[in-house]
Symmetry: C2
Subunit: 251 residues, 2 copies
Amino acid sequence: MGTGTVTPATEMLSREELRDRLLAVGAGRYHHQHPFHLRMHEGLLSRGQMQAWALNRYYYQSRIPMKDALLLAKSEDPAFRRAWRKRIVDHDGNLDGYGGIEKWIKLAEAAGLSPDEVIPCVGVLPGVRYAVDAYLALVRDSPLLVAVASSLTELFSRDLISLRIDKMRMHYPYMVDGLAYFEGRLTQAPEDAEFALDYVSTHAGNRSQQQQVIGALEQKCAILWAQLDAIDYAYVSPGNIPPGCFVPQCD
Amino acid sequence: MGTGTVTPATEMLSREELRDRLLAVGAGRYHHQHPFHLRMHEGLLSRGQMQAWALNRYYYQSRIPMKDALLLAKSEDPAFRRAWRKRIVDHDGNLDGYGGIEKWIKLAEAAGLSPDEVIPCVGVLPGVRYAVDAYLALVRDSPLLVAVASSLTELFSRDLISLRIDKMRMHYPYMVDGLAYFEGRLTQAPEDAEFALDYVSTHAGNRSQQQQVIGALEQKCAILWAQLDAIDYAYVSPGNIPPGCFVPQCD
């Protein structure tokens, strides 16, 4: 992992060492460094490319509460479930329905899409769909510890979202009415990440389980990265949009 | 589907109409038209790119017999299972182990890789992995009819493989010692495709099931296409190889 610690590979890591290993995964593999995000932050994306990103990423957003429901279903502990269900509420909203998913639809509208284009997930890139479905499969098929650990990318999301809000205001002023999703995540994501980090630090009872935690974060980073690979491939160079997928109607 | 027939959307298609619809799916969505294949056939790929293709595609090859085992497990009919298990034998070989998977390793060796680099599937692109895993999930989670239909891309593979053999001899002479896989598939694939086509034609008992058959073929085409998207993205333009993935050591 190259974090410079000297703990032998069979000994338990301390809480601090585990945290350092997880932060090192983020530094090397989180999608803040993906070429598509770099391009976005440099202001180089067209409105059509922003639409393609918002439409494809909606599929991920739409699956988050389903992922969290799969995770809830693994826990026998009402206290854990009460704490974790906050995430479902954050995304699905209260009875008024105004949560993260609705806010993402507003973001897509700001980019120029109608909800009818976005919500059915027709035209989503297969590569994005497979990556997101791999996330649900990982959570469904893994022990609770690994499922919780796969959420730890939220350790890194605050910095990325904060930068993205600035860059959108600067380079994509038409997106300004759609930033409520990111503004909400600025406080939600760090709270969620701290809870998950505390959980895995407490419940990984030996080095092997700690390695599973680290591996789960690596897998989740790859899942986020692969979504941007698919979007970057299809929408940055001409001629690469797969059959049946969303075709932007503006440059 | 734009095949020019006038059968109303609720009436059963004839065997010929169903076949025509399936062929139309292949014409529009099979990966013979993918930009990466077009580049390959024009002789434009470097040896490193051929290696990346062989290494990543090995993950698909390695999962085919697992897919066929999932499919076998769905059938209560010994005669069907006897017929279908031929595919497992074709890929895994007889006791000498010389089957499609072994032949693909020879192909990768012709490209300049060692079996130790290929067999562990370390360095496979996550996008390829997710697409292949989506194929296994489709077969695992669908009725037998849909699982069988998802194999119908073999209707189109003979022409592609035949062209590929010619183009490899012409443009990539170092690959010549690795062509046994493709030579075997020239006869295996059409036999398998005819069996599957006959099966779905006989067992799709109403229009809705026929549409499921067509939809399964569309899904499978997308799965093949997405693998090449990931390979094309990562290995054609510089700077796009995701963290932890295979890096060619030659141009």
